[in-house]
Subunit: 291 residues, 2 copies
Amino acid sequence: MQTVKAYQEMVESALKDCLRTQPAAAASLVEAMEYSLLSGGKRIRPILLLASCEMGGGTCAEAMPYALALEMIHTYSCIHDDLPAMDDDALRRNRPTNHVVYGEAMAILAGDGLLTEAGAMMLRDAMHRSDLRGTRAAEAILRRAGIAGMVSGQVMDMQMEGKPIDRDAVTYIHTHKTADLLTAPLEAGLILAGCGDEAVAAGICYGQHLGLAFQQMDDLLDVIGDTESLGKQVGMDALEGKQTWVALRGVEGTREDIREETRKAVDALACFGERAAFLQELAMDLTHRVR
Amino acid sequence: MQTVKAYQEMVESALKDCLRTQPAAAASLVEAMEYSLLSGGKRIRPILLLASCEMGGGTCAEAMPYALALEMIHTYSCIHDDLPAMDDDALRRNRPTNHVVYGEAMAILAGDGLLTEAGAMMLRDAMHRSDLRGTRAAEAILRRAGIAGMVSGQVMDMQMEGKPIDRDAVTYIHTHKTADLLTAPLEAGLILAGCGDEAVAAGICYGQHLGLAFQQMDDLLDVIGDTESLGKQVGMDALEGKQTWVALRGVEGTREDIREETRKAVDALACFGERAAFLQELAMDLTHRVR
């Protein structure tokens, strides 16, 4: 079984090279994209994709373009989300945000570039396959990143700011803003491995529960965490009147729910037997700090 | 042979429905996306794609998802380009720009949504085909819209503002900012039709020359056109110190070059014989005002 660290190293090494394959790209654009893409981070989404593909009987090598694309999509969404017109954040992972370093115009274009290149990178791989698995995996990722997924989650997050806390709204926002992009790697990874509908559905179930636990944890850390260890300003959610799980359920209620969602995520993979061990442990490790 | 109007009506009708297939999407997001997507326009890019596919022996029906996706990509690039941090335009096609109506945050997300949905829409079609033509067509479109194409063109356009006019810079900007997105429909349309490399290369050649003529015309109209009939403020390029063809070659030199690029575009399609008539006439019609 692989370790988190081994997966991380594989992803880091591949990320370093992946934008260098486009000689026609403007150097200043690539620099701004890489500033955010190579700024560390836990690489959870690509790890989930590689591990899912292996769990389903596939290899890391065949899943890598999709794993990198997913990290590019996550990075683009962070860059746009940090813009002055959006969350107006000056700090991410203890570094100045993209627009602080490169200006707003370049940050918008760096985000656009990462999103488009994510799609192009997946299709460069998919078009050379002998089947449609790559095409289907790319579809799953863009669907969950788009207007039926993450982008709508962002819109609702913004529009519900300052409104009374509403369980349906919090659930919609958490599902689409966060869980969809943690479900995409499971769906795509298992499709790439050639799994059938039932196995893919089990992976989706894991991703959704893990995604909810993940965002509930994020909400909780904004209340009980500290700025330095998180690398970003805490206490902002309440200040901005965000729809958070803590506002809905309180600190102890949120802890309970994180335990419950984590358990459901772990259980969802039972059908994979021992091959699920890595992803089951990962779910428990990710949330153990706050459970 | 189809007429421009017949193609336009087909595209308009399909555009009206295409975002309504996503029930999970936030209604306010879809409204902002449709405000720009359905604001008229000549629909040149989708028409080029449909006509190319027909020229290559394919049908409009099989090419439509890709044609709509291309218009979505064009629309997203206009929305982001108009933002205060970019060109800061308040008017497009005689209507207030997206951010003026919906605010900057929503305009950024509407653009992100259009770009992602463009990819997802192509892949929903491509994944149900029996071959990889759809995947290859989608790759061509995202490649030319991305960091080796349009996005890098935008970056250079911005970075070269106020610098001395430079032929290489103008050519790079025109090729990537404009011609790449007019070449993509030729490449994708002919791939969808099942054409071989040589025919696709001829289409690419047409697209590149037409694209250069198109941007040269845009530069010229900014000098000799009027605000009302163009639906946007004229005279801005010189004011902002943009790299334009008129600054490089003067009004008469630009007219000469437009004639030359149009002729090269028309000649490039000779290998298609009579099937090329529509696209050849289109190239001449598009530029006749200023030739």
